[in-house]
Symmetry: C2
Subunit: 216 residues, 2 copies
């Protein structure tokens, strides 16, 4: 029994190390540019098929990295939703989009790779849909989208969809560019993750409240 | 003389075909994922070093693709700037950011690759700075940024910088996701490039006019 537990513990450590290595390599080079073999080698696996053995296809591996962070994000967003209850302040609901990733990134410290990994994965022609669908499908994200929809009944469906896409794009790429700048030691518009969160909140509040021109 | 001209014409055609092939491959797979050798092969060059021979390094090749589109964008933006003169309507100045790329993409027809190429190039860890600097440095872009700065004197420098970055990120990724959806035949929030332009204009106007929270 002890032997089984030890082997399982080793297996879990190996899986964790492969996931961390893959996240870094994908963040640095893009999802399509990195092979399972390169990840196995960078993770110090003697067997070049280690990634395939532990995770299956590249889509499975990318989803496993997404799911490595999902519980932390889900927990933060669920707590925020419970706290705002049925708030009618749009800023509260937009904060449920913005703060979970910015606080998660702050908690990871620098260098983190998660923001750049998400930027690469959501720009990948093959895997972007899998990653976006997985993220949007979480219970707390569904509740946040429902809250935004309740507060914005005036927006036609296509404008709401468009502004949802824009919110995702802004959050993903602002965080990715900030994470890279912190890592490379280049200047950032805002000094801290908290300040970057405030900047995103201000901007997205303006974006969601902007008058719209119908183009039907 | 006629022979020289023909050889030059052939050389130009080869260069053009290599550029178009590289743009498509970078857009599909990411800049880091595609080697000069793969581009040479896909462009039907018997010599695997054709890309290096014609363009030098990958950074040179990426810049050559950017510069293939730059005159068309520059011409549209310069004409818009001349037409709005010293307008004090913020929407006019934001239109100078948005309309040149959306009209250019419309003129390319589908499938185009330019929007996805720019999204990939500006997400690439190595080449992103080269591409962003090249784009921002154009005379019409400098005049547009100066116009926005004149109209937004109330914004602290870091908020203006942050919102400039956000404008770029939104325009790049909205256009890239729309270009991909058109190519793949999947739904888009707006029916036409003109309508997508209007959606971006509305959203960016709200973003730039949003009240800001100082975090100094």
């Amino acid at each position: 029994m002890a032997g089984t537990r030890t082997r399982q513990a080793h297996g879990n450590e190996t899986r964790e190390f492969i996931l961390a290595t893959a996240e870094r390599l994908f963040a640095e080079h893009g999802v399509a540019a990195v092979s399972n073999r390169q990840i196995s080698e960078a993770a110090g696996q003697a067997n070049n098929f280690a990634v395939g053995y532990h995770f299956g296809t590249k889509a499975d591996l990318v989803l496993a990295i997404v799911r490595r962070h999902a519980p932390a994000l889900e927990q933060r967003r669920a707590a925020m939703l419970a706290a705002i209850a049925d708030s009618t302040d749009l800023r509260d609901w937009i904060a449920c989009l913005v703060r979970p990733p910015t606080e998660h990134l702050e908690s990871l410290g620098s260098p983190s790779w998660y923001a750049r990994f998400i930027a690469q994965a959501t720009t990948d022609p093959v895997l972007r849909k899998v990653v976006i669908d997985e993220t949007v499908a979480s219970p707390s994200m569904q509740a946040t989208i429902a809250g935004l929809t309740r507060l914005m009944p005036i927006l036609p469906a296509e404008v709401r969809e468009e502004r949802s896409d824009m919110s995702r794009q802004l959050i993903v790429h602002v965080c990715a560019e900030r994470e890279r700048a912190l890592h490379e030691g280049t200047p950032t518009p805002r000094a801290t993750w908290k300040a970057a969160e405030v900047g995103l909140l201000d901007a997205l509040l303006g974006l969601w409240q902007a008058p719209f021109t119908s183009t039907d």
